[in-house]
């Protein structure tokens, strides 16, 4: 696979764009080609937030695509909004802390990967690293991004928060790790 295409969807406050931005930045720092584009509408909050990331070893010229290798959906509404991107080749990652109506899940997906990230984050770590945990899972699935690049990207985006609360850095690393593990075991 020369370009990996990833769609992420979630509710306004769930941090989907942060996941996408760190992912893309990490790919770029890994020496890969990468392109990230958020979707954006007139609703600042309250709408479903989508992010599109492409990374690989050839130039990414077109920001949008129709089918994704990885789809991430963090809410019921997001599951519906991202369904069109799913094919037989798709790994479909979804938040599974609360009950998900199985009729919403895309049947054609090659692999369904439930991640109870809210639960895990809240129980082991901190609710706010929930999205970094998801990022870990995505990175685990895609498996093209270098660890150091990922940490550097994390630092770039969240460094100012780490500066204030250094323990956050460690928390985030652990979230990344737990997420990645889920990709391999689930």
């Amino acid at each position: 696979m020369s370009i990996a295409r990833i769609v992420l969807g979630g509710e306004g406050g769930q941090g989907v764009q942060t996941i996408a931005e760190i992912l893309a930045e990490a790919a770029y720092r890994s020496g890969l080609e990468a392109l990230y584009i958020p979707n954006f509408g007139v609703e600042q909050r309250g709408g479903v937030s989508l992010a599109f990331v492409q990374l690989g070893d050839e130039v990414v010229a077109v920001p949008k695509f129709r089918r994704a290798q990885v789809v991430v959906a963090l809410s019921d509404r997001a599951i519906q909004r991202t369904a069109d991107y799913v094919t037989r080749e798709t790994t479909f990652i979804y938040e599974a802390s609360a009950a998900v109506d199985p009729s919403f899940l895309p049947r054609e997906a090659g692999r369904l990967l439930p991640v109870p990230a809210v639960k895990l984050a809240t129980e082991h770590l901190h609710p706010r690293v929930f999205n970094v945990l998801i990022l870990g899972t995505v990175v685990g699935v895609v498996d093209m991004v270098e660890e150091t690049a990922l940490k550097a990207a994390l630092e770039g985006l969240l460094g100012h928060k780490f500066a204030l609360k250094p323990e956050l850095r460690e928390l985030n690393y652990r979230a990344l790790g737990e997420g990645r593990e889920l990709a391999l075991t689930a």
Partner: protein, 249 residues
């Protein structure tokens, strides 16, 4: 069968479109609550036409069980002026942000006021351009950081906050009604709106309102800003009395 408790929304709020599209803690729906109650009190659901501007106000395009038109940025007033000219029995409400009313559409505001067009204008002053992501508005406070005043608004470079209600009061006919309320005092705001709606001349009610999303404030800071900071520049009260006696209920 005992009735299940229902949310105490104004009758004129449209339940089908709730929860509405505004962010958590937004001042817009608070202003719309006061407005809804005022319309309820007057029982004018069949007379009021609601027009909303582009800005977060557009998120109210299906907010009410009222005939509604969402217009173009800054152009809600002229649309409703046109409507009122041919349908004098209707009561048009022009619902606008401070950017729409005091910047791109300010020519319409002062001109409608000067011509004493019998339209009720409601300007939500949240001291930013909210919908576009938090740029400076004419009402942004000195020192306030926004996306286009990243180092804080410097009056030497971009002027002092524009006092829209005072400006309108300076050009409006004596019969016009002009007031400034706040979402921090919804009972007062509703009184102002009732007077504005019933005034058969031009009326303007400016509303100090919160935008926690762009202010990046938590609930405590949000209240602090609306209740303390903003009124330092934008005093609350009635600036021009309209033609009717105040009607409280």
């Amino acid at each position: 069968m005992k009735l299940q408790p229902e949310p105490q929304m104004p009758r004129v709020w449209r339940r089908e479109s709730k929860p509405h599209r505004f962010c958590p803690g937004c001042g817009h729906p608070l202003a719309l609550k006061a407005l809804g109650e005022a319309v309820d009190d007057l029982d004018w659901q069949d007379r009021v036409v609601f027009g909303c501007d582009i800005g977060c106000s557009l998120l109210a395009w299906d907010f009410f069980d009222l005939d509604t038109v969402q217009t173009h940025h800054g152009r809600t007033l002229p649309v409703l002026v046109g409507l009122k000219r041919v349908r004098p029995e209707l009561v048009p409400i022009a619902y606008m942000g401070d950017g729409g009313a005091y910047a791109i559409g300010v020519q319409h505001l002062v001109s409608a006021a000067a011509r004493d067009e019998p339209v009720c204008s409601l300007v939500v002053n949240n001291a930013v351009y909210a919908m576009t992501g938090g740029q400076m508005a004419p009402t942004t406070l000195p020192g306030q950081k926004t996306e286009t005043t990243p180092y804080g608004r410097d009056p030497a470079l971009s002027g002092h906050p524009l006092k829209g209600a005072e400006m309108v009061a300076a050009v409006a006919a004596p019969e016009a009604y002009v007031a400034r309320g706040s979402v921090a005092n919804l009972r007062q705001l509703k009184r102002y709106l009732l007077r504005a709606l019933q005034n058969p001349h031009f009326s303007l009610v400016e509303v100090l309102a919160s935008c926690p999303t762009n202010w990046r404030t938590n609930a405590a800071e949000t209240w602090e800003w609306v209740e303390k900071e903003m009124p330092r520049y934008f005093p609350l009260g009635e600036l021009k009395g309209g033609v009717r006696e105040e009607e409280r209920r």
